[in-house]
């Protein structure tokens, strides 16, 4: 595993579509990408993808209520069970009405109408004849020509309910049904300085870091069992993380999600610097012992990191995982992303790689003592 390979994974992951509640396409890519690095890959009833890699401790009796595999490499019990979570769903649109060539739309997650205007999209049609378009239909969110608009109209943001997706032909509209999903297009573009722009870096950057960590881990020793979960439906309320955490029943968990990268013009207390390494969150959502360990590991491998204060709801899978079952010591590792929730989200590829390396080092340093000492840190 290296930065180049992580870049390759990130390109594949971002270019697969997977709106909240319809993550099958990206889920298939996740399964394919993770297979070389996991002993077992399975899909939960709601669609989250769980990659399981046993620790050298192995399992005494295999699966538990967590549904882990019955037989693992060694006979000894693993000292603990770690869940990693990064969400694979992305924001987008959903069809609310079909009017000839034109689709009325609603939001799935927090898309921004300002940047949706004049946006290329892919419509996953399911109506009559839609089987001719297995890769979706190209569409475009049109903007009325400025020539015909009044000064007042030109100065107003077009609200979501006035946006229309144009399919280019009424015959194509006939194969679209209310409820069909619409993904925003946004190529993976390499910019200067190792920066990349794409749609859905939120949170495919996190997924790439998580899968990259498994890749790095393949060349390392680790005693803990690892469950890397690409979760569904984070953008609409962390549904996948909540259900997957119940299923895995981890001893500890780390969520990996994007956070606001420094953006010229924005208050820098609300953003973190880009290209400065993984962002380790701190606040009520994070277990102090977990944060301490992540920081120690980063220092140990001489990896720079950024601390981000998160005074309440982190808006990530960590929020749901922390209160799963009887409670899970949880941490949040972030990747700084600029222009979030647009088709041109931007990240520094090195930050994704550094996050993967921090996670791998963290996992390899978990031992039989770690769990016992956690209560002292609360």
């Amino acid at each position: 595993m290296d930065k180049v390979e992580i870049g390759r994974m990130l390109r594949r992951l971002t270019q697969a579509d997977g709106l909240s509640g319809a993550e099958e396409r990206v889920g298939a890519v996740v399964q394919e990408v993770v297979r070389p690095y996991a002993a077992e890959v399975r899909v939960t009833p709601l669609g989250s993808v769980i990659a399981y890699e046993p620790g050298t401790g192995g399992h005494e009796s295999g699966g538990s209520e967590a549904g882990a595999p019955a037989e693992t490499a060694a006979g000894r019990a693993a000292p603990g069970r770690l869940m990693l979570a990064a969400h694979m769903d992305e924001i987008g649109l959903i069809v609310t009405r079909v009017e000839g060539s034109f689709l009325h739309v609603g939001r799935v997650g927090g898309a921004d109408p300002r940047s949706l205007l004049a946006q290329e999209v892919t419509v996953y049609a399911t109506g009559p004849g839609a089987d001719k378009y297995p890769d979706g239909l190209p569409g475009y969110i049109g903007s009325r020509p400025p020539h015909v608009l009044s000064e007042q109209e030109r100065s107003k943001v077009v609200p979501l309910d006035a946006l229309r997706v144009d399919l280019g032909s009424p015959a194509l509209g006939a194969s679209v049904r209310v409820g069909d999903r619409i993904a925003v297009c946004g190529d993976y573009t390499e910019l200067l300085g190792g920066r990349v722009a794409s749609k859905a870096l939120d949170d495919r950057a996190g997924v790439a870091a998580m899968l990259g960590a498994l890749g790095y881990l393949a060349g390392m020793q680790h005693s803990w069992d690892v469950y890397a979960v690409a979760t569904i439906q984070e953008e609409v309320g962390e549904m996948g993380a909540a259900t997957a955490a119940f299923g895995v029943a981890p001893d500890i968990a780390v969520a990996i999600d994007v956070t606001f990268g420094d953006t010229p013009g924005l208050d820098d207390t609300e953003t973190v610097e880009m290209d400065k390494g993984p962002v380790i969150g701190w606040g009520p959502n994070m277990h102090p012992g977990m944060v301490k360990k992540l920081r120690e590991v980063a220092d140990d491998i001489e990896l720079a990191y950024v601390s981000e204060p998160v005074p309440g709801h982190s808006g990530t899978d960590a929020w749901a995982i922390q209160v799963s079952r009887e409670g899970v010591p949880t941490a949040l590792v972030g990747i700084a992303v600029r222009y979030m929730h647009s088709a041109t989200e931007m990240a520094v590829l090195a930050d994704v790689d550094r996050t993967a390396r921090l996670l791998a080092a963290f996992i390899s340093r978990l031992d039989g003592e770690f769990l016992a000492h956690l209560p002292e840190e609360v």
Partner: protein, 356 residues
């Protein structure tokens, strides 16, 4: 005419902001090789082509014009933090720019026009159109030094949009791409130059239409046409709306070539209008009339050249012009080629008077 779609695809994907049309000109030159008798490039960059007619002398000289330039941007400042400030060239719609990809300069450096995350904006900010002066292109550079090595103030930029086919249905074949205004006119003109006509043809691929009809003006002066037909990607606003909204669609995609009677730059010559009506009726080609009063095109400059030139404009409706992409119907394109071609076979001096 499937090959005209391939021509449109190439032209649409090429880079040619007003004042920097050279790449489009090179492409056009390549496409018309062998189709014209001679060609010249003038002081502004217009590509002027000549094709003698096969009718008896004296022959009319008819100008066909389409503009090569597209709306875009110019870099005005490289900020200390590496971001690029920019201005519009020829009126790109600033409402459409946030979160879009662009390419910059002759090297086609990729960049993005960033949109701050909605999570961190107030309701007022979310409902406010960001003026172009406040936007920036992000090329990934972290300082002016890094950016300055790749981009200079004055570099042109345009949308990174790639051409695509939306509908293959022969009854309603639509395509999507950037700069259809006016690469679709260039495509029609290339299609027309493939044929022979009784009249002499001046085929003008003009520059700088979007910044004030500059190229067509000097080219019309130079070539002294007897009549002119401009070929344009026309404004189209035919998205369904509530019936009580008093707005005109201007033109409708799929309803055929749009004939202008009046816009903000000219009145169509009545004889030329009669020529096109009679031609359309004789050939059974559907036409529509572009609603008066919107926009202006090269015809505005050509019809005022020297002592005046009887002119008309035939357009292809393009939804969403002046943004990152437009949509048009290929049947409108091919019907415009048919209509203008038939008009060139029909035209005579009788149509150039103001009688009848």
């Amino acid at each position: 005419m499937a090959d005209l779609r391939a021509v449109l695809e190439k032209l649409s994907n090429e880079f040619g902001v007003s004042g920097r049309e050279r790449a489009v000109r090179a492409l056009v030159k390549n496409e018309i090789e062998g189709l014209v008798d001679r060609l010249t490039v003038d002081a502004l960059g217009n590509l002027i082509t000549y094709k003698a007619g096969d009718g008896p002398e004296p022959r009319l000289r008819v100008m066909l014009s389409a503009h090569m330039d597209e709306v875009g941007f110019m870099i005005t400042k490289v900020e200390k933090n590496g971001l690029l400030r920019f201005a519009g060239v020829g009126g790109p719609d600033q409402r459409t720019l946030l979160g879009k990809r662009v390419v910059i300069g002759d090297e086609r450096l990729p960049g993005i026009i960033g949109a701050p995350p909605p999570h961190l904006l107030s309701r007022d900010q979310l409902n406010r159109i960001v003026p172009i002066e406040e936007m920036a292109i992000d090329i990934g550079a972290t300082g002016d030094k890094e950016a300055g090595g790749k981009v200079k103030v004055g570099d042109y930029a345009t949308f990174a949009t790639r051409f695509s086919v939306l509908s293959d249905d022969p009854a309603f074949p639509t395509v999507r791409g950037k700069a259809f205004d006016d690469r679709v006119g260039c495509t029609v003109l290339i299609g027309l130059l493939a044929e022979h006509y009784p009249v002499d043809i001046v085929g003008l691929f003009s520059v700088q239409e979007e910044v004030g009809l500059r190229g067509a003006r000097v080219a019309a002066y130079r070539t002294e046409p007897d009549a002119a037909i401009a070929l344009e990607g026309n404004t189209c606003d035919d998205t369904p709306r509530l019936p009580d909204e008093e707005t005109s669609p201007v033109t409708r995609v799929g309803d055929g070539p749009a004939i202008t009677i009046m816009d903000r730059s000219f009145f169509t010559h009545p004889g030329m209008l009669r020529l096109f009506r009679e031609t359309a009726a004789a050939e059974g080609i559907p036409i529509q009339y572009r609603a008066p009063g919107f926009g202006g095109t090269d015809t505005g400059a050509i019809h005022l050249s020297r002592a005046g030139v009887p002119s008309i404009q035939a357009g292809i409706p393009c939804r969403y012009i002046h943004g990152p992409a437009s949509i048009l119907n290929m049947n409108d394109l091919t019907n415009t080629v048919r209509l203008a071609g038939a008009a060139l076979r029909r035209i005579n001096r009788g149509y150039l008077t103001r009688e009848n």
